[in-house]
């Protein structure tokens, strides 16, 4: 196996550990911190997939913004770290379902013969992204801005109350 694969396995391990922590940690803040770990691992996976821009976006949006948001929300809802209060009684069924899904998908993925699989990952340059984004994808781009604005206003209204004081 090439050294790249070695890196991949390390990174994948880190990511999976992070994800496991997220779903099993007994303390909400701890699972939020595990979430950071998982997200950074995913960013590293993006690097392995030769899409640098996306990795940086991942770090910028998730490493900085989303995690802070979640941490604040947590401290705000005062989700206490009480044993067992975080998981419901349905845990075993959830585990069952998750494992079934995982096994089936993995089988499907490994069995499939991907046609047109390139030997080299095509490196994505930021200029290409810019060109595509502002020519072919201009409409979704604008819509995204609308979505963001709606999210902003909605969040404000929800957090402050209808009349916004």
């Amino acid at each position: 196996m090439t050294y790249e694969e070695g890196f991949f396995y390390v990174i994948a391990a880190v990511t999976v550990i992070g994800a496991l922590g997220v779903v099993t940690a007994k303390n909400v803040v701890h699972s939020a911190l595990f979430l950071i770990l998982a997200l950074l691992g995913v960013a590293a996976v993006f690097i392995l997939l030769a899409s640098e821009f996306l990795a940086i976006v991942q770090v910028l949006v998730y490493g900085g913004a989303v995690t802070i948001l979640i941490l604040f929300a947590m401290m705000l809802t005062r989700a206490r770290d009480v044993e067992g209060s975080l998981d419901g009684p349905q845990r075993p069924f959830a585990a069952l379902a998750a494992i079934t899904f995982m096994v089936t998908t993995i089988l499907a993925v490994t069995k499939t013969e991907w046609r047109g699989e390139t030997e080299e990952a095509t490196v994505v340059d930021i200029n290409q992204i810019g060109d595509a984004l502002f020519t072919t994808w201009s409409v979704p781009f604008e819509i995204a801005s609308l979505v963001l604005m709606v999210a902003l206003i909605g969040a404000i209204i929800l957090a402050r109350g209808e009349e916004g004081e």
Partner: protein, 141 residues
């Protein structure tokens, strides 16, 4: 000047200033090394501290510091929701920055259309900001 410079591809020659072939993978290997070194530096400092510093357990050494008084009530209390509002604002504008960076490096090539697209984008978000402003979210009260 700059625009013309960019237009007739002077940038491409200027890119040659870059001494090392900016190969993505190698870059991030360096980042990995840096991360490891950072951990190593802090770790060595902490280990040195572990070895060199005297350890003395007294009764109240671990008591939370609160101006010489004992803590009243729970310390890990609830933060205020305004912090959360500013986090939301930050999130939104952070995402805008995500779109701004590719735009910044390519809008001259793409010409007017891209420029005005981004202007509309900024305008819409600016409306969101104005709404927040009007709602007094920005005024901490």
């Amino acid at each position: 000047m700059l625009a013309s410079l960019v237009a007739n591809g002077t940038i491409t020659q200027i890119k040659d200033f870059a001494p090392v072939i900016s190969d993505v993978f190698d870059d991030y290997i360096a980042v990995l090394i840096a991360t490891i070194l950072g951990f190593v530096l802090v770790g060595t400092a902490l280990i040195g501290n572990l070895v060199l510093s005297p350890r003395q357990k007294t009764e109240h050494k671990g008591v939370t510091y609160e101006c010489g008084m004992l803590t009243i009530g729970r310390s890990r209390a609830q933060v205020h929701f305004r912090y959360y509002l500013f986090a939301i604002l930050f999130l939104i504008f952070d995402i805008e920055a995500v779109f701004l960076f590719p735009w910044a490096v390519s809008f001259v090539r793409l010409g007017e259309q891209a420029f005005w697209e981004m202007m509309v984008f900024i305008g819409i978000l600016a409306f969101g900001l104005a709404y927040a402003w009007k709602k007094g979210v920005l005024r901490w009260r």
